[in-house]
Structures are given as C-alpha cells and as structure tokens.
C-alpha cells in the first residue's frame, strides 16, 4: 500500500541553529501536507503544497514539494524553543479523502 516515510525520526537541535526534516512517498502525490504536534497536544495542520517544485514559507519555516511530487522537506531556521514537537507529513490516498501519515519527526530543542 501507499507509504509515507519520514527521516530522521528524532532530532536534537541547538537553539538558534537550522534543521531540515524530510518526507518521502512510495507513490506520486496530488498534494503533501505538514502538521505539527506539540508535546501533549494534538496534530495541527500547517500547510498544503500542491504544485511540482512548490516552495512556501511561513516565517522561519520553508516547505518544499519535490519536482516528481514524491518527496517534501521542511526547513526551520534559527530554531526556537517553541519549535519543539513532532512534525508529520501526510499525503492523500488515491480515490478517497484519507491521508497516509508519516511516523513523524520528533524535534527536541536544546537551549
């Protein structure tokens, strides 16, 4: 079945540094979505990318959708303690409104 994989699974990042998390799909996606879950919280939708090669920015976060629409990345600059949490990517499962979620990238920020 369709799989979405995220690497790395865990990251420890020094406050102020940049980091990137990656998402790869076994199939071509019509769109890719990113979610953030704070510790003890629930997943919150961040952004959706639709076009091949699309790049979107939200303040210090830059999201990119690959040319082949099978991979995506999230790059965070000047990491802050508020960036702590787990970042999930998700892609639609063809033919219905379900999403295939990756297992997430848990980010710990070191002050």
């Amino acid at each position: 079945g369709q799989q979405v994989m995220q690497i790395p699974q865990y990251q420890h990042v020094q406050e102020g540094e940049d980091f990137t998390t990656y998402c790869n799909s076994s199939t071509t996606l019509s769109n890719i979505q990113w979610y953030k879950q704070r510790p003890g919280g629930h997943p919150v939708f961040l952004i959706q990318l639709v076009k091949s090669g699309e790049v979107k920015k939200q303040k210090r976060l830059t999201f990119q959708f690959g040319e082949a629409k099978k991979n995506s990345s999230l790059h965070i600059t000047a990491t802050q303690t508020t960036d702590v949490g787990t970042y999930f990517c998700a892609g639609p499962i063809y033919g219905n409104n379900r999403l295939a979620f990756g297992k997430g990238n848990q980010v710990v920020v070191i002050p």
Binding site: S30, P43, F45, N97, G102
Partner: protein
C-alpha cells in the same frame, strides 16, 4: 480547534468493559476519522466516515465499532476493552472536495488507559 471536541479527555477503565469515546464537530464537515497514537507507530487510522450512515474500516479496526447517525457526531466504541487498546485517541474531520485528501482538523484527544 474549538470546532471539534472530544470527550472525555481522560478515561481509565478495566479490561472487558465497554467504553465509548465521543466526537462532535460544528463545521458540517463530510469526513470524520478516528486515529490512535502509540509510541513508535505514529497515527493509525481506525475507522472513517464519508457522510452520515457511511463508515469504513481503516488500518486497525479490530475491537472497535463506530456509528454516524448525524453528520456532526462520530462516536467510537470499544465493545470489550483490552490492555492493548490503551492509547491516545484522536478524532479528526475534513471537508470533501473531489476526494483529494483535504487537510484534517483534530480534536484534543482522549487519553484512555485500560487496566
């Protein structure tokens, strides 16, 4: 998001008991979903619903029952709880637009412990 609420937030019960987790959304979204989240497994889909009276199995449906008599409600029942069903349960909803996988909006979750 205030538009989707889950109850209870915390629940402790014993093996063999029946327990129902409630989910209510005010957006009139067509789709609703139930996930469980366990360490190392991410979010796993239990059941989902495309509309009132339409439900379908997800990845891990065994031991669970759902119903959707009204668009806004999507309760999840564990008919005879087992320890392996100890987990955090999230309800989510999304709009329906051509089946293209619309963004999902999650409730705060129910933390269920089965002793």
């Amino acid at each position: 998001d205030a538009g989707i609420t889950q109850s209870p937030r915390y629940k402790i019960t014993e093996t063999g008991r029946q327990v129902t987790l409630m989910c209510h959304q005010t957006w009139s979204h067509s789709y609703m979903f139930w996930y469980r989240q366990d360490l190392g497994h991410g979010l796993r889909l239990i059941y989902y619903s495309a509309a009132a009276d339409i439900t379908d199995k997800g990845e891990v449906p065994d031991g669970y029952v759902v119903s959707r008599s009204k668009t806004e409600n999507f309760p999840l029942t564990l008919e005879s709880a087992t320890r392996s069903q100890t987990s955090v349960y999230f309800c989510a909803s999304s709009e329906s637009q051509g089946g293209g996988g619309q963004p999902q909006h999650f409730g705060d979750g129910t933390r269920l412990s089965i002793l």
